[in-house]
Each structure stands twice: as structure tokens, then as C-alpha cells.
Amino acid sequence: MKSTHADALTRPEIHTMGTDKDANVTTENIVTATPRGDRPVEPLVFEKSIPGQRAVTLPPLDVPETALPSEIVGGGFPGAEIGQLDLMRHYTHLAQRNFSVDGQFYPLGSCTMKYNPRINEWAASLPGFTGLHPLQAETETQGLLRLLFELRGFLEEIAGLDEVCLQPAAGAHGEYTALKVIRAFYHDHGQSQRNKVLAPDTAHGTNPASCAMCGANVITVPSASGYTDVDALKEVIDREGADTIAAFMITNPNTAGLFDSKITEIAGIMHEAGGMVYLDGANMNAILGKARPGDFGVDAMHYNTHKTFSTPHGCGGPGSGPIAVTTKLAPYLPVPQVEYDDVRSMFSLNYNRPKSIGKVRSFFGQIGVLIRCWAYIRSCGPDGLRDVAEMSVLNANYLASQLHARYETPYFEPGKGKWCAHEFITVPKSLLAHGVTLLDIAKRLIDYGIHPPTMHWPVHDCLMVEPTETESKRTLDTFIDAMSRIADEIESHDDAMHDAPADAPVRRLDEVAASRKPRLTFTDSQ
């Protein structure tokens, strides 16, 4: 049933934040943009297939053929046949149906959707890097090994920790790897009984999931007013027994966008108990060059280079999740480690680390991502990185200060001098009291050409807004304007809210049906 209100709704175009618009774009001219009408569905590539079409051909075979016994030959790949132009159009159409940092403001909290500098793309695509086989002799790959070794050093310095392992494929993989390293340390020190890992109730889902993969038990520590409840932490330690605890996984700045000023006290409590502090470094953007985890008591941490160090998110990866640890944990890091070998005067990959937990992935790491990370750190330099932290915090506080009157911010209280870090959460209770849902607000933002913030995490009914340092004041003001208009729409009981998005390539989806009877592949019988 199609609501009449949807038809009455003005239909802003979705790609309004890009360069195709007047440079002085404001929500004023966005909402008065002419409706485009329904977009057609883009057929699946399989539906576009025409037998006999080809997008590319191979040169003819130039060696004699060898017999192919029929028992090893299979039925072949059942894919689409399509010419190059129609294939290119297919992807152009798909691209046009996607929000991205390049096209839209994308304040997805915890994900640090900053601009992805193009020099990094250029660097990672140099044939002198992309052409290297992972098992080549070290003598042939010294340039790349040098870069990786330097990056190790940069990340050790930024963390204030002793040794970095570049291998993990993403943040979650870094968590897993570091927890394995911590467990290996305890095994080696006759404390195998330390198999409990504490994590706040506001932790990202990967934290408990990574613990479980290591065979560790996760114990949840409650939070109080957005922070770790220190008394609760002590109670949990007493209840569980100090000598059963391996680590406390803490995100700082935390997932509510707050820097926990009790971090050294917390670290002290953990170390007293004989345990370690693991930092989920997803929010490192806010403290680059301002504070270092190693200096505030952290024993091990991961970075998400796709957040902090501007490597692109690629529709969901590839990321990379280097980990940094103290000297006492270093012997347990995965093999191989990129090192400088003084004896041979060259960079090398060292497998000879007898206490290592072994391998956690194929080959050595997300090299292409790490090259981008190196280029970004070199481009920023020490002052530039500190500025990144300052500007990301400035931008977030600016947004919070302009929005909190209508979108309540439980932990941002300017009157009390309580600021946020690089992101903040809003729980817009008074707006929701008008009978709209958080989903309505999020989807309406799409009509304003803005990617919705993170939803319902770390607390129910919250939006987590992270503008990042790369956004201009004009873009921030456009967002503030859009949020205010949405608040107006809610308060005037405009039913448009329930029908949003009106002008995205599709309207709101039936996600329940999708999971009830999952259709995960295209079949001709459909």
C-alpha cells in the first residue's frame, strides 16, 4: 500500500552532497530540488547475459595441448556472458546506487569515515608493490620490507608501545591475535587458569566474539554514566577471582564518544590483579599525538587503519588491524615479523621466534592497505596527526553543541564542561515521543543526501555521530540544518517521516522477510 504522503513529499535527489551541485548547497535548495521520479531496478548481471557476448578475450594458446582426462573435467562456471560496454554500464548504475564518502557526508559513528587521499591509492597501485610475490627472496623486496619496517616503527611510536605486528586483517582479527598473544604469555608463565576476559557492556560485538574464539570466558562489566564503573570492575574482579582474569578489553575514547579519565586507575586495578589492559583502538583518531595508550597503562591494542589512517573502507574492507604490545608480550606475536637484520644488513621476515603463537593468516598482512597507511602517516607528520585529533574533536563538539537542544546528548553537557571526543551519541527522546522511530530519522536523512549515523549502539535508540576531521564547516552546517528540518517534520507530525526514504533507489526494505526465507543467490527458477 503506497501512502499518499509519500507522493506529497518533496523528493530531494540523493547525490546532492557532491560536486555536481551548486557549491553553495544548503538544505534549502536540497528540499526544493525537483523530484526525479522512480528509478528503474537495475537487472542482475545474470539477467543481462546474452550467450556469445564477451567483455575480453585471451590470446590464442601458443603451446601444444595436453590431454584432459574426462574424469577430472567438471561442468564449468555458470556465469553471465556480457559485452564490455554493457558490463561497464552495469557497474556505473550500481555505483550510482551507493552512498560513499566521496559522494555524501557519512557520519557513521565508530567507523571514522574520513576522506581517503588519492595519493595513497596511487602508492598502493605502483607495480613495484603490486607485482611482488609473497614468497620471493628478501633481497628482491627490500624497498617494500623497508616501508613495512618503518610503518612498524611509526605505529609503535603512536601507541607508545614496544612492538607492532602488522599482520591482522582487520580490527576484529587484531583483537583475536592480541588475545591469543596474552593467553600465550600466561601459559608460558604458568598461569593458564587466567582465561576470563572482562569487557564493558558497551563494547563492540567483536570484543566478546574474539574472546570466545580464543576459548576465553567473557565477563561483562557494567558502565555508569557512559564510563566504566570502577567499583563494579573491582567487584567483578573480586567475584571472579583476580587470578582467573587475563585482561580487560576497553575502548578509549569509548563507544559513547568519551575519553575515560580513570583509565590509569583502571589499568592500575588490572595490573594489581595480575591481568592486562587491552585497548580496542577503533577510536584512536581522537587521541593521535595527544595521548598514547602505552603511556596510560595499556599492554596491548589494535589499530583499525581503515578508520584512523584513512585507508578506504571499500564497501566493507579490506581493512587492517595491526596490534601493538609491550616488550613482555612481544615474543608471542605471530610469525613472521618484519625486522632489520644487522648481520646481513638488510630487512627480513623473521620466522625464528620460538614463543610465537604461530600464524593467524595467509602470508604476512594486508600489504596494500599498509602502504596506504604509511603514506598517510608520512603525509600528516607528527603535527598533522595531532591536528587530526584536534579537528576531529572540534568537529564533533561543534555538531553536538548545535544539535543537543533538540537531539538529547546524554553525555555531552556543555553547561558542566562535559565535552565529547571525536564522536557523540544522541538519544532523541523528545522527538521519539512524537511517535517516530529512530529508523524513521535515519532513513529520512537519506532523503537529505546524508548517510545515517550508526544506530542503536552502544545503547538502544541512539544515533552515534562521527563527523571526522576532514569535513568542512559548510558540510557540518548542512547536516545541522538537515537534522533541524527533520526535527521540524517530526514536531509537525509530517507523515513523510514514516515513508522515508522517498527518493533513494529503493524505498524502505522488508528486512524481516529477507531473513525468514533467505535468498542468497540468483537462480533461474526465480
Binding site: 545474470f46 557476448q53 575480453v56 620471493q136 586483517a169 567483536t206 625464528n352 564547516k473 524502505r508 542468497l520
Partner: protein
């Protein structure tokens, strides 16, 4: 250059709007003792021009498949990559988006992943596939995790001919869990003897993992291995496959596999020193709710229009937390996009030709090398796909080093830690894909004969 855009004037305006005197006030929650006193000890900022020069110099220090004829395989393959791929994945709409949580604003990525899943299921000849995992090795470990979760058993049998990285990761993943990983040795022909495998299977066997073509390029008897696996009800057969080979050879589902995983790098991702690559994961329908990773499903919008969204998210860490099927969050989206563009560009015919040409060129090369006195195929009677082991008259490491000076990338030697230290020093793994011209194949043979060929008689 840090790509910020706030001008000094705007900064003042913003501080005033917030109601603070300076940015430092916003950092008041960091205790002064916890703050970094001076600047980070890092090299000073470099301009883009300086960086271009520096990076060019670092890149030029390396030789690789861009400078040499690459005969290396062992889990990372130098295949033809159509130009279209970089053109498509370089588009900012794909490059700079994230996981498609907001379906209405992410239909492009979601549809591409739905197409990718369909293609991976097609390559594996199984029902369903996910939207990628980190790489081939972690995909093997995740597949074994699925098996353990599905049937609750405690033994994982893995062929010793599976890629050494995959086996190493498997050991790491299960080391803390109450599950034993048992390696099944290969027979003298370099492949798993299905009867020996059948002997090793018991009622507590969760799964049997067999890679084909295996680490030495040899074609395993999946049919017999998975038949052996299924002799115990509920034991899963896990196939580790090469996606290019699926254009020609038997696909996992055709041979009785329940789950199939692969290193997806050959599908349009350059060698790039081993990463980022992507893990492919396909399975029978029965296991879909236990699968790791993102899944894209088809649905409709309120107007009944076809649309796509992330689905079955209750398996995932952000909902199920410690009970999730896997901890994976960020996967390898852009690599999955590369793979799907690659498969659409080549099409079924192109993939078949790529596989056939690799097969014919590797066989031509193997035959010619085996003709050189002193060189022999290590497994002359076993079928192989695009790579094979040669026993050489000299240590492989020395041959590899000499070959570099002649313009060939050879290796790896099979007795090093990077390759699981399984072979003898004179064993050399050699690969040929469709990219190697006859002239390159012939000149490699000529080099080996000239430098290392033994005199037949004297």
C-alpha cells in the same frame, strides 16, 4: 598535509559556538599526566610531491612479476587482470563506502555482493556463499569451526597437502579449544590415499579437509575422500579449491563437498606481496545459519521492488556477541568486488580458457623440464593443474637466485618455514599460468638446461 578543511577563522567561530576558549579545553577529560608532552617522534610531514618521489624510489627497489617472468605459485598466482577491474573498483562510490548497513543507501554494493555470492556458489557448485572472509587460510579455519559447531565433534582431519599457511592457521585457531587437529599424510604419489583417510575417520570426526589442486599442484580424489568422510554420518567434507581451476576441473559440489573454501586472489587481485586477498566460502543450504561473515539477501521494498540487504545478522557478532558464528566484522569487500567484476569480464568461456591455457602451459613446461637430464618430476604419475614439483640437480635456493638474474621469478623452495618446511632442498615448485608465453617457457627451459643440465654420459 592532513586533509582537514576548517580554516583558522572557522575554527574560532566553532570554538565560540561550542563555548570554549580553545581546543585544549575539549581534551580536559584526558588527565594532564596522561597527555603526550611533546610531538610524536615521527618524520616531518612530506608534501605529495616528495611522497611521490620517495614511494617511486621504494617501489623501484623491488623486482617482481612486473619486471620478471613469474613462475611462482604456492597460493598466490600471477593471472591476467583485465583493465576494467581497476576502473570499476577505483570508483569512489565503491572505494569509499562502508559495509552496507543502510540498505537504501547501499543498493549498489549489496547487489554486487549478491552477484558475487551467486558466482562463488557457482564456482563451488554449492547452494550458497558469503560476501567474503579475510583470506584463504582463515577461510579454512572458519570452515572447520562451522563443522565443529554443526556436529559438536572434536577432531578435525586435514590433509597434509593443504597449503601450509592454512594448516598453520588451523592449528592456531584450535589450539585453545577442545578440538584436535589431525594431519593425514600424503601417499608416495603426493596425494591423500582415501583408504588411509577412511581409517583415520571416527565417530568424533567433525570434518575432513582436502585441497585440490593441493599445495604441490596435484589433483586430489575429492570424490573418494568425501565418500570416506560421509561413511560416518554428519562428518563434513570440506573442499579447498582454486577458483580458476573451477573453470575446467571438477568443482567441489560435484564431488560431494558440503563446504568449500578458497583463496580468491586469482580472481583479479594482484600478487601484492600476499595481501589484501579474500577468502571464498560456499556451503550447502543446510549450513547457512551457521555460516561466518556477511550475507546479502534478496527482498522487496514497500513498493514491491526487488532490493537487497544484509541478512541473517543474528549469526553475527554485533547481535550474538560471544555466541556469534565468527568475530568477523570488516571483511574484504573491495576484493570481492574485484572478483565479481573479474568473473563477469571473463565470463564462463574466458574462465574456461584461462584454466585450460594454464593447464596446457604448465604441462608443456613440466614435460620440457623433465627432459633435461638431472631434472625429474617429483610425482610423475599424478595429475596436476598449473603447478608441479621438480626435483633438481642442485639446491632450489641456488637455482632461484641464479634465475632472478636471468629474468625469471622461481620458487619457492619447499624446505623453508614460509612453505611449511616439508620438502627436500632440491625440490622446486613451478607454476605456469596463461600469462606465460611460449617464449618465456622455452627460455626458462633453456636456462635450466644450460646452467644445471647434467651431461647424459661420459
Amino acid at each position: 598535509m592532513n586533509y582537514t578543511q576548517i580554516t583558522p577563522l572557522e575554527r574560532e567561530e566553532m570554538l565560540e559556538a561550542i563555548g570554549v576558549a580553545g581546543v585544549d579545553e575539549l581534551f580536559s577529560s584526558i588527565h594532564p599526566d596522561d597527555r603526550l608532552a611533546g610531538p610524536l617522534n615521527l618524520p616531518p610531514a612530506a608534501s605529495e610531491l616528495e611522497l611521490q618521489n620517495e614511494l617511486n624510489a621504494l617501489a623501484e627497489e623491488n623486482s617482481g612479476a612486473h619486471t620478471h617472468a613469474c613462475f611462482m605459485g604456492a597460493g598466490s598466482y600471477d593471472h591476467f587482470i583485465p583493465t576494467l577491474i581497476d576502473q570499476v573498483v577505483g570508483r569512489g562510490e565503491f572505494l569509499t563506502a562502508y559495509t552496507p548497513y543502510q540498505a537504501e543507501a547501499s543498493q549498489g554494493a549489496l547487489q554486487a555482493f549478491f552477484e558475487f555470492q551467486t558466482q562463488v556458489a557457482g564456482l563451488a557448485a554449492l547452494d550458497v556463499a558469503n560476501a567474503s572472509l579475510y583470506d584463504g587460510a582463515t577461510a579454512v579455519a572458519e570452515a572447520a569451526m562451522l563443522a565443529v559447531n554443526v556436529n559438536g565433534r572434536r577432531r578435525v582431519l586435514v590433509a597434509s597437502t593443504v597449503h601450509p599457511d592454512s594448516r598453520a592457521v588451523l592449528r592456531t585457531y584450535f589450539e585453545e579449544l577442545p578440538v584436535t587437529v589431525v594431519e593425514i599424510p600424503a601417499g608416495p604419489d603426493g596425494i591423500i590415499d582415501p583408504e588411509a583417510l577412511a581409517q583415520a575417520i571416527d565417530n568424533d570426526t567433525a570434518c575432513v579437509i582436502v585441497q585440490s589442486p593441493n599445495f604441490h599442484g596435484l589433483i586430489e580424489d575429492w570424490n573418494a575422500c568425501f565418500e570416506a568422510a560421509h561413511s560416518i554420518p554428519k562428518t563434513l567434507g570440506i573442499a579447498v579449491f582454486n577458483p580458476i581451476a573451477c573453470g575446467l576441473l571438477n568443482r567441489p559440489g560435484e564431488c560431494g563437498a558440503d563446504v568449500a573454501v578458497a583463496e580468491g586472489q586469482p580472481l583479479g587481485t594482484p600478487l601484492q606481496f600476499g595481501g589484501p586477498y579474500l577468502g571464498l566460502f560456499a556451503a550447502k543450504n543446510a549450513f547457512v545459519r551457521k555460516m561466518p561473515g556477511r550475507l546479502v539477501g534478496e527482498t522487496v521494498d514497500t513498493d514491491g521492488r526487488r532490493a537487497f540487504c544484509l541478512t541473517l545478522q543474528t549469526r553475527e557478532q554485533h547481535i550474538r556477541r560471544e555466541k556469534a558464528t565468527s568475530n568477523i566484522c570488516t571483511n574484504q569487500g573491495l576484493l570481492a568486488l574485484r572478483a565479481t567484476v573479474f568473473l563477469n569480464t571473463l565470463g564462463p568461456q574466458g574462465l574456461a580458457e584461462m584454466a585450460e591455457q594454464s593447464y596446457h602451459k604448465a604441462h608443456y613446461l613440466a614435460t620440457r623440464i623433465a627432459e633435461i637430464t638431472g631434472f625429474a618430476l617429483k610425482y610423475p604419475d599424478t595429475r596436476f593443474f598449473n603447478e608441479f614439483v621438480v626435483t633438481c640437480p642442485a639446491p632450489a635456493a641456488a637455482i632461484i637466485e641464479a634465475a632472478v638474474h636471468e629474468g625469471f621469478l622461481l620458487g619457492p623452495p619447499l624446505d623453508t618455514p614460509a612453505t611449511g618446511a616439508q620438502g627436500s632442498p632440491n625440490d622446486l615448485l613451478i607454476c605456469a599460468t596463461e600469462k606465460r608465453s611460449r617464449a618465456e617457457l622455452d627460455s626458462l627451459v633453456e636456462f635450466l638446461a644450460r646452467e644445471y643440465g647434467l651431461q647424459t654420459s661420459d
